[in-house]
Amino acid sequence: MTAHAHGVSTLESPAGQMALVDLIDRLLGGGVVLAGDIVISLAGVDLVQIRLHALIASVRADMAGVITP
């Protein structure tokens, strides 16, 4: 099953590579959490995620502006 193009290029993986948003969701929200020696607080990570989503959103908006006629 493939994602359909609607003018905005989709971040769904064409050749097995995960979409960045899926990857980030999993790398920050999943995986094994071991407290390393460098500790970022969970609250901090949540904030990072929110800021990140805003960032990706703005990047996507930029891309859309470039790609769509």
Binding site: V8, S13, R26, L27, D37, L52, A57
Partner: protein
């Protein structure tokens, strides 16, 4: 305090030193194995200017930096997955040295063994369901009563539109629930993730389901067939299945 640390990508079992020799590490470092009690932690050396607390705080907000690190991390996790069971670590897990890595393997030994057993021979699939945007329909004048005047007609129209939208939404949610339940029966484990914003998903419809499924590698065809069946059953929504991925969503440690 040293100015370098060890970045932990993933933990595997029974790996060879040569398994990862062709896989690039973050910052063009070299991947190494820290072996302890049968567990293999995949690490590389990183600068603490970049991966220390202060550096991380700033870098995590830099999308280019983040994407680069995330992709490298993911490539390594994929490579480890190709050798056998893999427990991916959360992004940016840093220990100061290999003793620190071994201490973590000791502390979490049983939980890590449990995770590796759980994901052995299994991969993660993502299934998202999108409902088409509910069209703003024009007023259905035939159902409007006379004599209410323009204001009343407007309010009634609004009420009808709202009811229609709510009905469509709850129907879509029920369908998404059914899709999730059905796919859960075709998988070993399942998890719901937060639906993504349309600006992030790059998809016009509303994401009504963002789910992850842990699927036996041998059952992949059956799982995909189930997705196809559900897609034809629920023509009103679009299902997007992607995978197979390393089991990121199923590598959480159980509380001891």
């Amino acid at each position: 305090m040293s100015d370098t640390g060890r970045y932990l990508y993933a933990i595997g079992r029974g790996m060879d030193d040569t398994d990862l020799s062709s896989v690039p590490a973050i910052d063009d470092g070299r991947l190494e194995l820290v072996r302890h009690r049968g567990l293999d932690a995949v690490v590389s050396t990183v600068s603490l200017d970049e991966f220390g607390e202060e550096g991380l705080k700033q870098n995590l907000e830099n999308l280019d930096w983040l994407e680069n690190v995330a992709r490298r991390h993911d490539d390594v996790v994929h490579a480890v997955a190709s050798t056998g069971a893999v427990a991916p670590l959360r992004l940016a897990t840093i220990c100061l040295d290999d003793d620190g890595v071994r201490a973590r393997l000791d502390e979490w030994y049983f939980a890590l063994e449990q995770v590796l057993d759980r994901v052995q021979g299994r991969m993660e699939w993502s299934v998202k369901a999108f409902s088409a945007p509910v069209a703003e329909r024009g007023p259905d004048l035939s159902s409007l009563s006379d004599g209410g005047g323009v204001g009343a007609a407007y309010l009634q129209r609004r009420r009808l539109a709202t009811e229609e939208r709510q009905h469509a939404e709850s129907a879509a949610v029920a369908c998404a629930e059914e899709v999730y339940e059905q796919l859960a029966t075709a998988s070993v484990a399942s998890r719901r993730l937060r639906p993504q914003d349309p600006r992030l998903s790059g998809h016009e419809g509303t994401m009504i389901l963002n789910a992850a499924f842990l699927v036996d590698v041998d059952e992949t065809a059956g799982f995909q067939a189930m997705v196809q069946r559900l897609q034809s059953l629920y023509a009103g929504m679009e299902l997007v299945a992607t995978g197979p991925w390393p089991p990121y969503s199923f590598a959480m440690l159980e509380q001891r």
